[in-house]
């Protein structure tokens, strides 16, 4: 039904996941991880699971990003590997 829309979101999701994995700057990785979470929430909303998408958007794109940023400020910003 909405398969074109889902395909576009899925491509964005994969791109965000790969960028978050490859990034050396952990702050950028956190931001891309938020983008990933938001894309996952959009996929859930398109598929009709609005509650799951809502939770994913609030927790994944909001709270988790903030907690990761705090953890980065407490430790190091650059990845060593």
């Amino acid at each position: 039904m909405h398969w074109e829309f889902e395909l576009v979101i899925l491509v964005f999701l994969l791109a965000a996941a790969i960028v978050a994995l490859r990034s050396k700057d952990l702050l950028a990785a956190v931001v891309t991880l938020s983008v990933y979470s938001f894309m996952a929430a959009l996929i859930c909303a398109v598929m009709g699971a609005v509650d799951v998408g809502f939770t994913e958007a609030v927790v994944g794109a909001g709270i988790t990003g903030v907690l990761f940023i705090v953890a980065i400020y407490q430790t190091e910003r650059k990845s060593v590997d």
Binding site: V58, G62, I63, V70, Q74, E76
Partner: protein
């Protein structure tokens, strides 16, 4: 470690960036209003206690991120987090146990003494439980942030009581 202007740690200290502070102060009341809408309108639309509570926590964390932990004490004090989460969980538990004591099953809301029909009483019970979940989630997530950032932010606070 990343430091802000003049050596102040941006996570803890009170540092003024007026654009960030003003815009987040402008946005936060609307986030909180929408969070309350999500909690109380969960009977009729997507949403509920967990989502609304997480949104409320997001509004607290936005103020904490933008003006620093010291300025955010005016909105939500550090000491409130852990007691608040206990209170939220207790609301849920007491609701369940009171129905048990009033002669029903555990968490059987139709036994609550609210003076309404059975299904309406169940609806109100769901609302009470959702409020408990929202309070618990909002306070817990804020408390986790405060514990991560640490205690030093209290020094030189504008609201040092």
């Amino acid at each position: 470690m990343e430091r802000g202007r003049e050596g102040i740690d941006p996570m803890r200290g009170y540092y003024d960036d007026r654009i960030v502070a003003l815009s987040s102060r402008l946005v936060v009341p609307f986030i909180q209003l929408f969070a309350l809408y999500v909690v109380f309108h969960g009977h009729y639309s997507p949403g509920g206690g967990f989502q609304g509570g997480a949104m409320l926590a997001a509004s607290f964390l936005l103020i904490r991120l933008s003006v620093g932990s010291d300025g955010a004490q005016l909105q939500f004090r550090k000491g409130w987090g852990t007691p608040g989460s206990s209170i939220g969980t207790l609301i849920y538990l007491v609701t369940g146990l009171s129905t048990l004591l009033l002669g029903g099953y555990f968490l059987d809301y139709s036994q609550l003494p609210l003076g309404m029909g059975e299904s309406e009483t169940r609806s109100m019970g769901i609302l009470i439980v959702e409020i408990g979940v929202a309070v618990a989630v909002a306070c817990t997530l804020t408390a986790i942030y405060d514990d991560l950032v640490g205690e030093e932010g209290r020094r030189g606070s504008p609201h040092d009581a």
